[in-house]
Structures are given as structure tokens and as C-alpha cells.
């Protein structure tokens, strides 16, 4: 009788151990699956939110930051149709922004180069006018210089003093009057400070500063 009870106990123990181990293993897998599902869901939500923000211009990220964000989301490889569609649209939008930014940077660089070149040309011509040996010689350089400008009435601003945050100017003049002033006064007391151009590459505003 005693040995029967012992045998039954042993069998029950074995059954418990076996059942217990199986249940624990199943629970771990379930937890892991649930965690993976939660992570996936969170990533989908985050990706959807970020991509929508990019598409609707509701973010303060720079273009580079937006490009990096889209790449990260793409690398997650979420295989979610909605997210994939948003990625497609965001990439198209960022490509347009990139092209626009590159074009702006190219134009800015071009403007800088042009301004540098114009700075040199204007400085040289100002000196030529002021030191011309005759009125006709000065007038020839004036006419040549005027070709760089949109019109004879292009405003010329002369900074007489730079202060903290603002400039003091002389009475504004025009390029025609300024070039003739150089001819009359036979001196150049100003240098180029800033040049603005119109769409045709002609100067439409000139800012000078006292040397």
C-alpha cells in the first residue's frame, strides 16, 4: 500500500513538473511576442507621426534632420502599407526641398562670386573716374560702369558710421550722381559694402561705406 502511494505521488510530481515547465515556456514566448508586437506598434505610430509632421511642415527639423529621420524609419523596414506610402510621399517632398536648397546655395555662391568680382570692378572703375585726366576720359568710364547697373537711378547708400546694430547714412544718392561726384571731386572716400542684383544680374542697389 505504501509503495503504491509513493508511486502515485512520483507520477503526480512528474506530471506537475512536466506541465509546469511547458506552461512557463509558453508564457515567455507569449510575453516576447507581445513585447515585439508592442514595439512594432509603437514604431508604426512613431513613424506615422513623424512622416505626417514632415509632410505637413509641422516640424522644426532642418532638411538634413528630416532626411535622416526618413532614412531611420525606412531602415526599420516595418512592412506596413500605410507607413510605406508615407515614406514614398516624404521622400518625394524631401527630394524637392533638397533640389530647391541646392539651387538656392548655388545661387548664393554665384551671387557671392559675382559680388566679389563686381566689388573689384567697381573699386577699380571708381578710382579710374576719380583719377581720369580729362572729363571725356572720366565720362567713358562712367558709361562703362553704368552698364553694370539696372538704371542710372539705382540708389546708392553711403554709410558714414556703423553703430551697434544700425548704420548712419549720408543722404541717399543715385549711381549716376555718385559716379559724376567722383569725377568732380577727384577722390574716392568710399568702398563697396553691399551689392544687390535684379533677376537679370544688373545691380539694383549699392551700399558703400566710408573708408
Amino acid at each position: 500500500m505504501k509503495s503504491k502511494i509513493t508511486t502515485v505521488m512520483m507520477v503526480l510530481l512528474a506530471v506537475f513538473i512536466t506541465l509546469g515547465g511547458t506552461t512557463s515556456c509558453k508564457s515567455k514566448k507569449r510575453l516576447a511576442r507581445e513585447a515585439a508586437e508592442a514595439e512594432y506598434k509603437s514604431k508604426v505610430e512613431q513613424a506615422t507621426q513623424d512622416l505626417n509632421a514632415i509632410l505637413n511642415d509641422e516640424t522644426l527639423w532642418s532638411l538634413e534632420e528630416k532626411e535622416a529621420r526618413v532614412k531611420t524609419i525606412k531602415d526599420w523596414n516595418l512592412q506596413n502599407a500605410d507607413v510605406d506610402s508615407l515614406i514614398f510621399e516624404a521622400e518625394k517632398k524631401l527630394a524637392r526641398e533638397r533640389a530647391q536648397k541646392d539651387e538656392e546655395e548655388r545661387r548664393a555662391a554665384e551671387e557671392r562670386e559675382k559680388a566679389k568680382a563686381a566689388d573689384v570692378v567697381l573699386g577699380r572703375n571708381f578710382n579710374s573716374i576719380a583719377s581720369a585726366g580729362s572729363v571725356s576720359q572720366a565720362n567713358r568710364v562712367i558709361n562703362e560702369t553704368m552698364g553694370l547697373f539696372e538704371s542710372p537711378n539705382v540708389p546708392v547708400l553711403i554709410i558714414i558710421k556703423q553703430n551697434a546694430g544700425f548704420n548712419d547714412y549720408d543722404r541717399p544718392t543715385t549711381i549716376e550722381k555718385y559716379l559724376n561726384y567722383l569725377k568732380d571731386q577727384k577722390k574716392v572716400d568710399e568702398k563697396v559694402f553691399d551689392i544687390k542684383y535684379n533677376a537679370n544680374g544688373k545691380i539694383n542697389e549699392l551700399e558703400l561705406i566710408k573708408k
Binding site: 572729363v135 540708389p155 547708400l157 553703430n163 548712419d168 543722404r171 541717399p172 561726384y181 568732380d184 542697389e205
Partner: protein
């Protein structure tokens, strides 16, 4: 009631002048001083160009236009000569036209010792007013090149400097507008 009105008027005057005046530091004041002196030097060059018989008529007229822009609209220029005690006042354009027609074959005009006799002082309306003195030596020659007339005149020019604003390219530009007032003869000698 009268007292209240008087007080209000005084208050408005004080507030008005406070708004009109702008405190400027020493460096800015110096820049304005230099600008006004420069305008007087510019004028001396214009007088020289218009007075010169070598200057083409069209150039002289253009320079007169520029010279006129240096002055207030009602400014007058005093002219003296050794042969008379009378001082004749001309409006700016008339003065330059008179200068162009002087009956000499060659004219030399030199300005020197250009300096402030009275510094620019801010007035209650915010305008800076000062007086600049200059010495002018005039020489007139005949066609043989002989010096037939020479005098040296000391002249005082009143200068007005006002702070103004204008719009250029969508920006508000604050500038100092220097205008010359009357030019008065102080003394004329044969030196």
C-alpha cells in the same frame, strides 16, 4: 482753467522736443561733423569747376545742379569785391551763373582753412546747426595771362544737419541730411 491749459501746453512742448531730440554719442557726432565739413569741401570743388573757363557748358550746368542740392532752397551767397563796400546776395543758381559769366580769361578759386567757427549744436527741434568758416582766394587773369584781380575773402557758412528717414528697397533708411544755409562775407582783403 487758464493754468491747466498753460500747463498742458508746456507739457506738450517738453514732450515734443524730447521726441524731436535724439541723443547721439561722441563718435556719431564726430561722423556728422565730418560729413558737414565734407559738404563744404564739395562745394569748394564745384565753385572751382564752374569758375574754370575750361569747363564745358554742359558740365558746368550739371555741377550747378549738384551744388544747388547742397543748399537749403532759400539760401543766399554773399559776394564782395575790393572796389566796393557793397555785398551782393545771390540765390545759389544765380551765384553760379554769375560765376560762369565773370569777365576774365582765366579764373582761379581756392578755398582753404575750412573749419568750424561754431560747433554743431542741437536745437530744440532736433536739428544740428553750426557755422563753418572758409577763406577764399580769387584770382582773375586777362588773355595775356596777367593777374588783373585778386582778393581773399573770409566767409561763414551756416550748416544744418537733420535726421531723416526714407524707404529704399523696402527698408527704412535713417540718414543725416546736411544742408548749407546762407554764405556770408566776413571780410575781404587784397592779400
Amino acid at each position: 482753467m487758464k493754468k491747466i491749459i498753460a500747463t498742458l501746453v508746456i507739457c506738450l512742448c517738453v514732450v515734443g522736443s524730447a521726441f524731436a531730440q535724439e541723443e547721439i554719442d561722441y563718435a556719431r557726432k564726430q561722423a556728422i561733423d565730418s560729413l558737414a565739413l565734407e559738404k563744404v569741401r564739395d562745394l569748394s570743388k564745384y565753385i572751382k569747376i564752374v569758375g574754370s573757363k575750361d569747363t564745358p557748358f554742359s558740365e558746368a550746368n550739371r555741377v550747378i545742379d549738384r551744388a544747388e542740392e547742397l543748399f537749403m532752397s532759400d539760401a543766399e551767397i554773399g559776394v564782395s569785391s575790393l572796389g566796393s563796400n557793397k555785398i551782393t546776395f545771390y540765390r545759389v543758381r544765380k551765384y553760379f551763373e554769375h560765376l560762369m559769366r565773370l569777365n576774365y580769361d582765366r579764373v582761379e578759386i581756392e578755398w582753404y582753412n575750412i573749419e568750424y567757427v561754431s560747433d554743431l549744436q542741437q536745437q530744440p527741434d532736433g536739428t544740428y546747426v553750426g557755422v563753418i568758416t572758409i577763406f577764399q582766394t580769387f584770382r582773375g587773369y586777362d588773355k595775356e595771362g596777367n593777374l588783373v584781380y585778386k582778393d581773399t575773402t573770409k566767409k561763414d557758412i551756416t550748416v544744418y544737419v537733420r535726421r531723416k528717414e526714407t524707404q529704399i528697397g523696402g527698408r527704412t533708411i535713417g540718414f543725416w541730411d546736411v544742408l548749407l544755409g546762407d554764405m556770408r562775407v566776413k571780410e575781404t582783403t587784397n592779400r
